[in-house]
Amino acid sequence: MDLVEFLVKTVTIVAVFGLTLLIAMYSTWAERKVAGFIQDRSGPNRAGWGGLLQPLADAGKMFFKEDFIPALANKWLFIAGPSLAMLTALLASAVIPFGSTFRIAGHEVALQGVESNIGILYVFGVVALGVYGIMVGGWASNNKFSLLGAIRAASQNISYEVAMGLSLIAILMMSSSLSLGEIVAQQHGMNWNIFYQPLGFIIFITCSFAECNRVPFDLPECETELVGGYHTEYGSMKLGFYLFAEYINMFISSAIISVLYFGGYNYPGMDFVYAQLVKSFGPDLGHNIATLIGTAVFFGKALFFVFFYMWVRWTIPRFRYDQLMNLGWKKLIPLAIFNIIITGAAVLFLKPVITAWLN
């Protein structure tokens, strides 16, 4: 690997990292704003214009609070918990394709941290590790409520990962590739997977709600039953990291949803726009502008799903634990398997017919 490539990769990864943090930070602001708007209030509007400095104020408050560690807690693991949660949340953004490529002085730079041929597997691996952040933190607190909350969170995440993986298999059967860049490239124009996989999409989005511990599946932090869930003993910025990791996860999963089902940076009429831009700005600049438009489209989709998470949060009440498990094991998993069978049959029998008919 030569130096230029190394530098380019470093810059891309730092940019992706910074952008993820920024979006997660403003998700906390957006969450409160959306909550306010849905409840006929106006939300935070005192710190800065429209309350835009609210995340900074919150972070400042978190940092200045006492960094307390319970006497009987396992000190190292108690600190490792929120660190792990943040680490795993941030790792997943590395493989997301934010756009196609930039052409700078003859080099093609992909707008993606790492182009990996097992991208989606990597995301799943990292997301599965996210359970450890909760489990380690909950156990290390040496508190029964924390431990119960952590166990609930872990069992919930593990249950829903199964259905999530199964719903994903249908996508993989269609794309026959594990690379996220490849999956996006196949959804060129308006050829989005949502039109082929509506059932898979519903299963996937339900499971991602559960994976992010969002309402209606936010049982790990169910205050009425478990005091504060796995972060009962946490305060100061360690609590802040747990809450912040949730928002990062939310953005990452929104990005994954838009990549897998809504065509990522693809939008209808992109070939026409590309041709026009290349004609008027030349092959390099035109290509770069087209990529930027694609990236904007991608962020539009991802941020819409972040909004959707909030919208659902302020609409639906929390599930009971047995309802959660029933939904996960008895409904979503059979549905996902059914979806796989349907997809397999369609790929095998319907696709040749349609292809022949189109040609």
Partner: protein, 197 residues
Amino acid sequence: MQLTNRSKQVSNKEMTLAERAYLPAIATGLAITIKHFFSKKVTIQYPEVKRYLGPVFRGRHILKRDAEGRERCTACGLCAVACPAEAISMVAAERVKGEENLYREEKYAAVYEVNMLRCIFCGLCEEACPKQAVYLRHDEFVPVFTERDQVIWGKDLLVEDMNNRYTREAWTKEEARALDAKRASGEVTNVVPRAIP
């Protein structure tokens, strides 16, 4: 016995497939919340916009003057007696010749102090006053104080300013709205903007 006509018969019937699938119900819920997302917000931005609290609200005290600008208070002490919190104290003095345009009665309050930390804004002083001298304003609060010497209000703060007289003009919401309209058109200037629900 039927108490309201909103009561519903409870039924234990099996849910239909659409009900068990959650999704139609969730979609209905989402439609309701998004409707509220775009609806008008009910918040009144408090320090900038004040709500009209009605003509009988009891805010800060004022010592009224009469139409010729003479202080009405005659230092009888009935307000201090009526005060359950013992917040009012005064020193009486006799009017001398040449002060007839300052004080209406022959006896007046040389010192009149209200301790705003003790005052409970019950309005009993207002009711006790035989001369209609002391009132609790309906449109102004006691501002927040941060120092001890701001707590006791003397005559300098209490006595009415003849250039900005206190009147209780709006007795109903409609009158308050009309007054706000007058202020917007520039006819009157002594009305503070407020939200009238």
